[in-house]
C-alpha cells in the first residue's frame, strides 16, 4: 500500500461497466494530472466492439493512467490504485494490482446480481471472503452516495446512477490532491444543453471529493510533484488525434488540400471522425462504400493534385493491396495509414498488435516495394504522419504509416510543435508546360521522383495506368528489358527515400554495449524503460528504435555490425526480426508477445536476462 506521502510514479486504473463512463473518467484524470504538470501515459482498455451485457466480464471497460514527476514512457505494468465499480471490474483487474495496492470498491456493485453476472459464486464475494487481505480495500457505497447527492435535481434513477463515475473521480482527485476545476469546466461544456446534468455531475464530483476528505477513509493524501518538463505549451494527445493534426499540418505546409478516402474500422475510425470536423482546413473526407473505393478515391484525388490519404486497419488494408499496387505503378503520392489491431482475420478488433509489418512490406502481387514508417508514441504520430505526406509528395510514392491500437488510443502530454518547427514540403507536381515540349510523364528527377501533370494542366495531356510502363514515356510496354529496368527503378526510388531521412542513433548505450535491442513503432516506451532498468541494474544494453523501416536508415548496417547479440522486440510472432536476420545475417533473438497487449517491462527484461545466463 501507499505509505509515503510523496511518490514519483503512480498508476491508477479505473474500471467499471462499459456503461459507467470509465473512458471519460480516465481521460479527465489524465488531463488534470497533465495540466498539473505530471508526465502521463494512459492505456484505455475497452471491451470488444459490442456493449456486452451490464455487469459481465466482457462488459468491463478500463482506463489506466500512469502519472509521474519524471519522464515516463509506459502505462505501467501494475496499478497502485484500482477503482472497481462492480465485481466484474475487480475480477478482471485484480491480477495487475501491486501487492498491498489500494482498491476503491463500489460496494453496490457487489450485490448478488453483480456477483452472478461476474460469474462469482454467491458465497465468494471478494469483499468478504478475505481474498483481498493482501490489499488495502476501501469499500464505498458509491451508487447510493451518488444518488443521494444528486437527488435534488430530480433525475431519473438511471441518469442519477450515471453520475457515479464523477463521484469516484472526485474521491481520487482528493487522494492525489488534484484540482477539480478542469473537470468542472469539462462537464459544463459537455452538458451545455442541460443545466440539470451539469449541476448533477458537478455535485457528484464535489461530493466524492468531500467524501474522501471528510470520511477519513484515507489516512492521507499523496503527492506527486510536477515533472521537470521542457518549457513550452503542452496538451494531452492520443495517437489518432496526432495523426489527424499531422496530416493537416502537412497539408498546410504543402499548400495542398487533404483528401481522405476511408471506410470505418476499429481502431482507425477516429482519424476519419477527427478529420471530418476539420473542413475549414479544406480537408475533404469521403466515407466510401468499402476500403477499395476509399483508397481508389484517394488515388483519384492524388491524381488531381491533392494529398490522397486512406486509413484503415488489418482486414481493410488487405482489401486495399491491389490498389496500392496501382498507386505504385502510377507513381502518385498516397499515404496509407494502418492502425494495426490483433489478427488474423477479424481477430481482436479492439486489441493492439504489430503483426501487419510483413503485409506492409510484402503484401502485394509482383515486385511492389512500399515505403513503410512507424511512429513510436502517441505524440510522435504527429511528426510521423507529417513525414508520411512529405515522403509521398516529394518521392511520388505510396507510403504505409503503421500505427496501432495502443498508440491510437493512448494519451500523452505533448510539447506542441507548431508549423514553423516542421520542415518544408516540396510536392513534385508540374504545373506549367514551360518549353511547350511533349510532356514525358515518367521522366524523373535526381531522386527518381516523377513530375506529375495534373488533369486540367494545358498542353500536358497524357495517359497512365497499371500495365507496365515504358521508361520515361510512360507508354504501355511489354518489353522484357524495360520491365526489369522499371522494377529496379521502382526499387531504387524507395531506397532513395533514405537519403532524406535522419541517421539512426542509439536511444541508449552505444557500439560498445554488450548487446543491442531493436524495436519499432509503438513498443518504444516499454523497450526504453526496460533497458533503462536493466542498465541501472548493471547491464550494458544498447537500444535502437526504428521509425523508418523501409528503407532502413542509411547507417543501419554499420550500426548493427559491432553486435554479436541482437534482440528484436515486437508485439507479433517475429516480423521485423526476419528483415534484420535476412539483411544482416545476424542470429537475432526475438522477444515477442502476441496477446493483444503492450509489453510489460518484466517480460522484456526477463527474456534478455535469460540470454545472459
Amino acid at each position: 500500500m501507499l505509505t509515503d506521502k510523496i511518490y514519483k510514479n503512480i498508476v491508477v486504473k479505473f474500471a467499471g461497466d462499459s456503461g459507467d463512463g470509465m473512458q471519460l473518467t480516465g481521460t479527465q484524470f489524465a488531463e488534470t494530472n497533465a495540466l498539473f504538470g505530471n508526465d502521463i501515459v494512459t492505456f484505455p482498455d475497452f471491451p470488444a466492439e459490442i456493449r456486452a451485457p451490464i455487469g459481465t466480464i466482457p462488459g468491463v471497460s478500463g482506463y489506466q493512467i500512469h502519472f509521474s514527476s519524471e519522464k515516463i514512457l509506459t502505462p505501467g505494468d501494475q496499478y497502485d490504485v484500482l477503482v472497481a465499480l462492480n465485481a466484474a471490474a475487480l475480477k478482471t483487474n485484480i491480477k495487475s494490482l501491486k501487492p498491498h495496492g489500494i482498491i476503491i470498491a463500489n460496494k453496490d456493485g457487489f450485490d448478488d446480481r453483480n456477483l452472478r453476472l461476474a460469474g462469482i459464486p454467491e458465497n465468494e464475494n471478494p469483499l468478504t471472503n478475505h481474498s483481498l487481505d493482501n490489499f488495502t480495500v476501501y469499500e464505498v457505497d458509491v451508487t447510493k452516495q451518488t444518488k443521494l447527492a444528486v437527488a435534488e435535481f430530480g433525475l431519473g434513477n438511471k441518469e442519477a446512477e450515471r453520475c457515479k463515475n464523477m463521484f469516484v473521480l472526485g474521491m481520487v482527485y482528493w487522494m492525489f490532491d488534484r484540482n477539480i476545476n478542469n473537470t468542472i469546466q469539462y462537464i459544463e461544456q459537455k452538458f451545455k444543453k442541460s443545466d440539470v446534468l451539469v449541476n448533477a455531475n458537478v455535485k457528484a464530483l464535489k461530493t466524492g471529493y468531500h467524501f474522501s476528505e471528510t470520511s477519513e477513509l484515507f489516512s492521507n493524501q499523496y503527492r506527486i510533484e510536477p515533472a521537470h518538463a521542457e518549457k513550452g505549451t503542452y496538451r494531452s494527445i492520443n495517437g489518432n488525434q496526432a495523426v489527424s493534426l499531422g496530416l493537416i499540418a502537412a497539408s498546410i505546409k504543402a499548400k495542398l488540400p487533404l483528401f481522405l478516402g476511408s471506410y470505418p474500422i476499429t481502431p482507425a475510425s477516429d482519424i476519419l471522425h477527427e478529420l471530418s470536423k476539420q473542413k475549414g482546413f479544406e480537408v475533404m473526407t469521403f466515407q466510401a462504400e468499402d476500403e477499395i473505393a476509399g483508397i481508389c478515391a484517394a488515388i483519384g484525388a492524388s491524381y488531381a493534385g491533392k494529398i490522397g490519404i486512406t486509413t484503415s486497419s488489418g482486414p481493410g488494408i488487405a482489401l486495399k493491396t491491389e490498389a496500392i499496387g496501382l498507386a505504385t505503378m502510377l507513381e502518385l503520392p498516397l499515404v496509407i495509414c494502418n492502425i494495426q489491431r490483433g489478427g488474423p482475420s477479424t481477430g481482436l478488433p479492439t486489441k493492439t498488435e504489430q503483426a501487419d509489418l510483413l503485409q506492409a512490406l510484402y503484401g502485394r502481387n509482383g515486385e511492389c516495394p512500399l515505403v513503410v514508417i512507424a511512429p513510436s508514441s502517441p505524440s510522435d504520430c504527429y511528426e510521423m504522419s507529417f513525414m508520411a505526406v512529405k515522403i509521398a509528395l516529394e518521392h511520388t510514392v505510396p507510403v504505409m504509416f503503421l500505427s496501432d491500437g495502443y498508440l491510437a488510443n493512448g494519451a500523452q502530454p505533448w510539447l506542441i510543435k507548431n508549423l514553423d518547427e516542421l520542415p518544408e514540403i516540396e510536392p513534385q507536381f508540374i504545373t506549367e508546360n514551360k518549353d511547350n515540349a511533349t510532356y514525358l510523364p515518367y521522366l524523373r528527377n535526381d531522386s527518381l521522383a516523377r513530375q506529375h501533370a495534373v488533369p486540367g494542366t494545358p498542353g500536358m495531356e497524357h495517359r497512365i495506368g497499371g500495365l507496365e510502363k515504358e521508361d520515361i514515356t510512360g507508354n504501355i510496354s511489354y518489353d522484357a528489358a524495360n520491365h526489369e529496368l522499371m522494377v529496379k527503378i521502382r526499387e531504387q526510388k524507395v531506397l532513395n527515400v533514405a537519403k532524406d531521412l535522419p541517421l539512426q542513433t542509439f536511444e541508449q548505450g552505444n557500439e560498445n554495449s554488450d548487446a543491442l535491442i531493436i524495436g519499432w513503432g509503438s513498443t518504444f516506451g516499454s523497450i526504453s524503460s526496460s533497458v533503462k532498468e536493466l542498465n541501472a541494474d548493471g547491464s550494458n544494453i544498447a537500444q535502437v528504435h526504428l521509425k523508418f523501416i523501409n528503407p532502413l536508415p542509411k547507417n543501419f548496417a554499420e550500426l548493427i555490425k559491432p553486435f554479436k547479440k541482437v534482440f528484436v522486440a515486437e508485439l507479433n510472432n517475429g516480423q521485423l526480426i526476419k528483415i534484420i536476420r535476412e539483411k544482416y545475417l545476424v542470429d537475432a533473438i526475438g522477444i515477442n508477445k502476441i496477446q493483444g497487449q503492450p509489453f510489460q517491462l518484466l517480460e522484456i527484461k526477463e527474456t534478455i536476462k535469460q540470454h545472459f545466463n
Binding site: 505549451t233 482546413f281 493534385g305 495517359r463 500495365l467
Partner: protein
C-alpha cells in the same frame, strides 16, 4: 461546364494519340471511340479539361486512344477513382469508360454507390454481354443459357437489366444507345455531358470475336424496326417505321397499331417521370416489347455530390490556416510549462 456549345477550341483530329488502336478489326469499340471524338470539341472546353478514367477490359483501353488526360486503372474501380478525382477538381469533365464486366461484375458495388451519390460523371458502359479481354467468359449481362468458355452447358445465372439496376440504385440519368448508330450515340453523349449528376449510358457494343451478333436483332435491317424503339421526350412511343405504338393501359404497356390509336393517346415519353422510366426499363424482360433506346430517365433535382461536398468545405474555409491551426493544436486544454 454546363454552358452552351461554344466554337470548338480543338478538333476531333487533335484527339488522336500516338498509340496504335489495339482492338480486333470489326470491334464495336471503334465506332464508340469515333463518336466520342466527334462530339468532344462541341462542348467548348479545352481538351486538357477532359479526363477519361477506365477500368480493365477491351473497352477500358479507350483512354489510350484519346489525347486528353486519362487513366487506365484497375478492374472495376474506375468509378471510385473518378469520384475522388471529381470531388478533388469539379472543374474537370470526367468520363468513366467501362465494360459489362468491369462495371457490373467486379465493379458492381462502386457502380451502384456512384449512382446513389450522383457526382457529375459520365459513365459509358460498353455492354457486349461477354468478357472480351479475358477471351470469352460470360458476364453479368450474358443471356441465361448462353454458351461461353466458362459455361459450356449454358449460363445458369439470370442477367442484370443494367438500366433497371441503375434506376434501383437511384440513378439520375439513364440512357441506352448502340455502337452502330453514330448519330444517336452523339446525341446521347451530349445529353450525358450536360446532365448535372451521374449520367449512365449503356451502349450495346458488338464483340465480333467472342459474342458476335449479340445485338443483331436490334441492328439488322430485317428486324430492327420491330425490335427497337427510339424514345424522345414529349413524343409518343412509336416504332416500326411509325406503324406501331405503345399504349399504357393502367400499368400495362401494350403494342398497338398506330392506325388504331391517335398519337395523343399513346404513351408519351416523359424523361422526368420515374414511374414511366421504371416501366420502360422493364421492356427488357418482355420479348413482345421493343427495346427502348434514348434517354430513359432524367432527374435534375437530386443534389450533385461534389457540389454539396465542396460546399460544406467552402462555407467553412479558413483563410488564415496557419493561425487557425496553431489554435487547433492547442485545443481547449493546453498548459504552459516554464
Amino acid at each position: 461546364m454546363e454552358t452552351e456549345i461554344l466554337s470548338p477550341i480543338f478538333t476531333s483530329k487533335d484527339l488522336e494519340t500516338d498509340q496504335e488502336v489495339r482492338w480486333c478489326p470489326g470491334c464495336g469499340d471503334y465506332a464508340i471511340l469515333n463518336s466520342v471524338k466527334k462530339i468532344l470539341p462541341d462542348f467548348g472546353l479545352p481538351k486538357h479539361q477532359f479526363v477519361f478514367v477506365s477500368g480493365i477490359g477491351c473497352s477500358s483501353r479507350f483512354p489510350y486512344y484519346m489525347d486528353t488526360y486519362g487513366m487506365h486503372s484497375i478492374h472495376g474501380r474506375a468509378t471510385s477513382i473518378a469520384t475522388g478525382l471529381k470531388i478533388a477538381n469539379p472543374e474537370l469533365s470526367v468520363w468513366v469508360i467501362t465494360g459489362d464486366g468491369d462495371a457490373l461484375s467486379i465493379g458492381g458495388n462502386h457502380f451502384i454507390h456512384t449512382l446513389r451519390r450522383n457526382p457529375n460523371l459520365n459513365i459509358l458502359l460498353f455492354n457486349n454481354q461477354i468478357y472480351g479481354l479475358t477471351k470469352g467468359q460470360f458476364s453479368p449481362t450474358s443471356l441465361h443459357g448462353q454458351v461461353t468458355k466458362s459455361s459450356p452447358l449454358g449460363v445458369v445465372d439470370s442477367p442484370f437489366n443494367p438500366l433497371a439496376l441503375a434506376l434501383g440504385a437511384g440513378s439520375t440519368f439513364v440512357a441506352r444507345t448502340l455502337d452502330r448508330d453514330a448519330k444517336h450515340q452523339q446525341e446521347i453523349y451530349k445529353r450525358a455531358y450536360y446532365h448535372p449528376g451521374t449520367s449512365l449510358v449503356e451502349i450495346y457494343q458488338n464483340c465480333n470475336v467472342f459474342n458476335d451478333g449479340a445485338f443483331e436483332v436490334f441492328t439488322d435491317k430485317a428486324t430492327k424496326s420491330e425490335t427497337t424503339i427510339f424514345v424522345e421526350h414529349g413524343k409518343p412511343l412509336i416504332f416500326d417505321n411509325g406503324n406501331k405504338g405503345i399504349l399504357l393501359d393502367g400499368l400495362n404497356a401494350k403494342v398497338v397499331n398506330t392506325e388504331d390509336v391517335p398519337a395523343n393517346d399513346l404513351w408519351i415519353h416523359d424523361e422526368n417521370d420515374l414511374n414511366k422510366a421504371l416501366l420502360l426499363s422493364r421492356f427488357f424482360d418482355d420479348e413482345n416489347m421493343p427495346r427502348p433506346f434514348g434517354v430513359i430517365y432524367v432527374d435534375a433535382k437530386k443534389p450533385v455530390f461534389e457540389t454539396i461536398f465542396n460546399q460544406q468545405i467552402a462555407e467553412r474555409k479558413i483563410e488564415d490556416k496557419e493561425t487557425a491551426f496553431a489554435k487547433l493544436l492547442k485545443s481547449n486544454n493546453s498548459w504552459v510549462v516554464g
